[in-house]
């Protein structure tokens, strides 16, 4: 069974600092997604990673994928308050469109 583990689950950062969120998954997967969820809101797609070594960047966020290690990272550079949200990784497979989500990382960026 495909399992997805995210850590840390809670992250409190100072503005301007860097940090990394980790997403491990248990079996072979075809694609890895990162989503952002603000309180009471739905999920917003951030990145889609499809191949080993894929790296995508948007603003202060950068996501990477290592399929051999079954690991994806979401790196936050020089955090700002607006990045405060819950971040989910999700892992999917080609053949059944079933996506498994990590438990989420609740990020709080403090001034």
């Amino acid at each position: 069974e495909l399992k997805v583990e995210q850590n840390p689950l809670f992250l409190s950062m100072q503005e301007g600092k860097n940090y990394t969120i980790y997403c491990n998954y248990s079996t072979t997967s075809d694609r890895l997604y990162w989503y952002r969820q603000d309180p009471g809101k739905s999920l917003e797609s951030l990145f889609v990673l499809l191949s080993n070594g894929a790296v995508k960047q948007e603003g202060r966020l950068m996501a990477s994928l290592d399929t051999k290690a079954r690991l994806s990272t979401l790196h936050i550079t020089a955090a700002v308050h607006d990045l405060s949200a819950t971040y989910f990784c999700a892992v999917g497979r080609w053949n059944n469109n079933d996506m498994r989500f990590g438990a989420g990382t609740r990020l709080t960026v403090k001034p």
């Binding site: 075809d30 694609r31 997604y33 989503y35 809101k41 739905s42 999920l43 917003e44 797609s45 889609v48 499809l50 989910f88 999700a90 080609w94 053949n95 059944n96 469109n97 079933d98 996506m99 498994r100 989500f101 990590g102 438990a103 989420g104």
Partner: protein, 114 residues
């Protein structure tokens, strides 16, 4: 382009009743997915419909069911409601089956069972 829409926004039911949640996908999307996000828990996959058929089902009891209509909109039905069914139910849509089709999420329906 309109995004995924869900109705109602909030739904309050009592234990034992039935709840019906609705979802309209993005125009051109044929796949619809349902997820449950209980408080303090992650997203749990419920159901996936494509072209009117149920393609995959998560680890939920049969009282969770649904359907997809010819216009690709979808309905999630939860029978014999239990208190632990209280959650945010998210619907997502994608262009089709397999591949790297990204799922786009709706705003969700918050179901409260008392």
């Amino acid at each position: 382009e309109a995004g995924v829409t869900q109705s109602p926004t909030h739904l309050i039911k009592t234990r034992g009743q039935q709840a019906t949640l609705r979802c309209s996908p993005i125009s051109g999307h044929t796949s619809v997915y349902w997820y449950q996000q209980a408080l303090g828990l992650g997203l749990q996959f419920l159901l996936w419909y494509d072209e009117g058929e149920e393609r995959n089902r998560g680890n939920f009891p049969p009282r969770f069911s649904g359907r997809q209509f010819p216009n690709y909109s979808s309905e999630l039905n939860v029978n014999a409601l239990e208190l632990e069914d209280s959650a945010l139910y998210l619907c997502a849509s994608s262009k089709g089956m397999g591949g790297s089709y990204e799922q786009y999420f709706g705003p969700g329906t918050r179901l409260t069972v008392t």
